[in-house]
Amino acid sequence: MDLITSWIGNIPEFAVPFALAALGLIITEKSGVLALGAEGLMLVGAVAGIGAYLTFEQNAIALIMAMMAASVVSLLFALMVLVMRINQVISGLVLVFFCQGLSTLVGTLMGWTNQPVPGLHAIALWPLSELPYVGRFFVQNIVVYLTPVIFLVTVWALYRSTPGLRLRAVGENPQASDAAGIPVLGYRLAAIVVGAALIGLAGAFISVLSTKLWIANMTGGRGWIAVALVIFARWSPWKALAGAVLFGCIEALIPQLAASGIKLSQYFVFMAPYAITLGVMIWVAASKRDTSSQPADLGTPFIREERT
């Protein structure tokens, strides 16, 4: 029973990075830009967050700096896909490689490896925190509580505001949007930068608030799982949030399994999130074939002078 209580209590901590990264990806991809760089931007957020904390000793500054760092690095991605019109798959991959190299180099050379940070103290959401079994679910840090708020604001902005409508129009049909006077590349740039900020926050959440220390390549493929999450959430923020909670459940189970002394090699347990991602992708692909919710122009560069 103790096991179940602590498992449920740990779920949000593991779910929030997936949720924020997936939301960032959805914002970028709704504008028609295929964003494969999440893994890299999370790494940048993680290292920037730790670096900023070790320098300023302020959690808020650390998180904001992490978001800014990821946004700045995403400008490189924007340069590649919007200005240089490089293939978006290659650009995304190169961005991941670039960020892996950059974050490892900066973090190692500055001596930020394995420096513990205190993180944020948890706030109990009374009376919910007194509930049996699920009580610990409501004893979390402030960023966890802010995540649903961020989702609400984003969904409102995407689906209820004019800029959101334009952003989605740009992702569906950039030629028509361009003809209607919407600055296509401007909206795509904004989508990349805002999305990157959320992905950077997800990375900083892992390093500053969850693991509470930094090591090289610490995100361990979570950015890629977020990419998969967006695909099988069919670009819907709420479904992505549900998927993130599901993966949070799975990841939170790993330390519990290790503690319970099950006779299974730990490496098979570590495989689980990746195997389950693959399994869910296969299941979704086999069960329904609708691609209608995918932004129609996802992955194609907008070249005005080649208007068709």
Partner: protein, 363 residues
């Protein structure tokens, strides 16, 4: 009034971006070289920031690496697995299949070869050929699932191959910290291979793996430019729809190219295990999958160009290791420099395909 008159010519001038039809190849080569130099300059700046004395850069990278017989041998030695992963990348990308699972396929190739040595299958004379076959078969098998899923169910291969990498890495760790650990010491390594299980040295200490890599490059060149499969691949690359309607077996062609790619990646794993390390280690694959993709991209999926690009990256690897030893710069530097080079080369494409023209608006 006068201000307006001054402004008018400026307002009438407009710069537009035009798509170029084609560009003479000397210009293309010039732009490409310029972008490579740009990339090297940026990389140099990063190295100086990281603490390498600026004066030592040229010495460290060019003279010590390329004009020293031992280092040159190290470069050729390092190049072989990189050529193999580069070719593997070329083949898959020619079929429009983003095989990001090169690392996983390498790991299973090396695991297959090591299984042959650990279980002592075959006579000593037959051991090495069996290991080669096992490596290729295991690498190939690890690429079967993503390509079938993509062909049957349209499962995104970028994510599926990456997930399979993480699974392969954890499986390797499971073996290295568990059943296959060398009982002699505490390191996560397999027992050393027997002498007849290693890729032999040719004259001058040149390992057999380099001629194998060159031979494979020629084989791939034959496959993509002369064979029927290569012709089909070009159809598939240009337009799968048209290819299908003119009767090209699209699915079979993609399957063939990707399985070939997986087998080559498996062979790359064997080259590191039996050529460089002499055993299976827990982190032998690090950096190769990523380099293979970049090599294929730099070479525009051309096998000969991939061989040259692999030699360049191999130089970087060797220089990176010496930087690690002498200046305590993490090996991630090599990764960063590769990414910078690729960004610069990819950007050169923009200048090859576009031109900026000044347009005078009607007067």
């Amino acid at each position: 009034m006068s201000e307006l008159a001054l402004r008018r010519p400026l307002m009438n001038r407009r710069y537009t971006l035009e798509v170029r039809q084609q560009m003479a190849w000397p210009w293309q080569a010039l732009i490409l070289t310029g972008s490579l130099i740009m990339g090297l300059l940026i990389s140099g700046a990063i190295l100086v920031w990281a603490g390498v004395p600026a004066g030592e850069l040229l010495n460290e990278f060019v003279f010590l690496t390329l004009f020293d017989a031992q280092s040159l041998r190290a470069v050729l030695f390092q190049a072989s697995p990189l050529i193999m992963v580069g070719l593997a990348g070329c083949l898959a990308f020619r079929a429009r299949f983003w095989n990001l699972g090169l690392e996983g396929q390498m790991i299973f190739g090396a695991i297959g070869a090591t299984a042959i040595t650990l279980w002592e299958i075959g006579s000593p004379a037959m051991r090495l050929p069996l290991m080669v076959i096992a490596a290729m078969v295991c690498g190939l098998l690890w690429s079967v699932a993503p390509v079938l899923l993509r062909l049957k169910l349209q499962v995104n291969e970028i994510v599926s191959t990456l997930m399979l990498n993480y699974i392969a890495i954890n499986f390797l760790l499971h073996l290295m910290y568990g059943a296959w650990k060398d009982p002699k010491d505490a390191f996560p390594y397999s027992p050393k291979y027997e002498s007849f299980e290693l890729l032999p040295d040719l004259a001058n200490g040149l390992s057999l793996s380099f001629p194998i890599a060159i031979g494979t490059a020629l084989l791939v060149l034959w496959f993509v430019s002369i064979s029927r499969g290569g012709l089909y691949l070009r159809f598939v690359d240009k337009s799968p729809q048209v290819a299908r309607s003119v009767g090209v077996p699209v699915a079979r062609t993609i399957l063939l190219a990707v399985l070939f790619s997986g087998a080559l990646a498996g062979l790359a794993g064997l080259m590191i295990a039996a050529g460089q390390e002499g055993r299976l280690t827990h982190s032998f694959y690090v950096g190769y999958g990523f380099s293979g993709i970049l090599i294929a991209f730099l070479a525009r999926n051309n096998p000969i160009a991939a061989t040259c690009a692999a030699l360049l990256i191999a130089t970087l690897f060797v220089a990176g290791r010496s930087l690690q030893v002498f200046y305590q710069i993490p090996f991630a530097m090599v990764q960063l420099i590769q990414a910078v080079l690729v960004i610069c080369v990819a950007s050169s494409d923009f200048f090859i395909r576009h031109r900026i023209r000044r347009v005078q608006m009607g007067d």
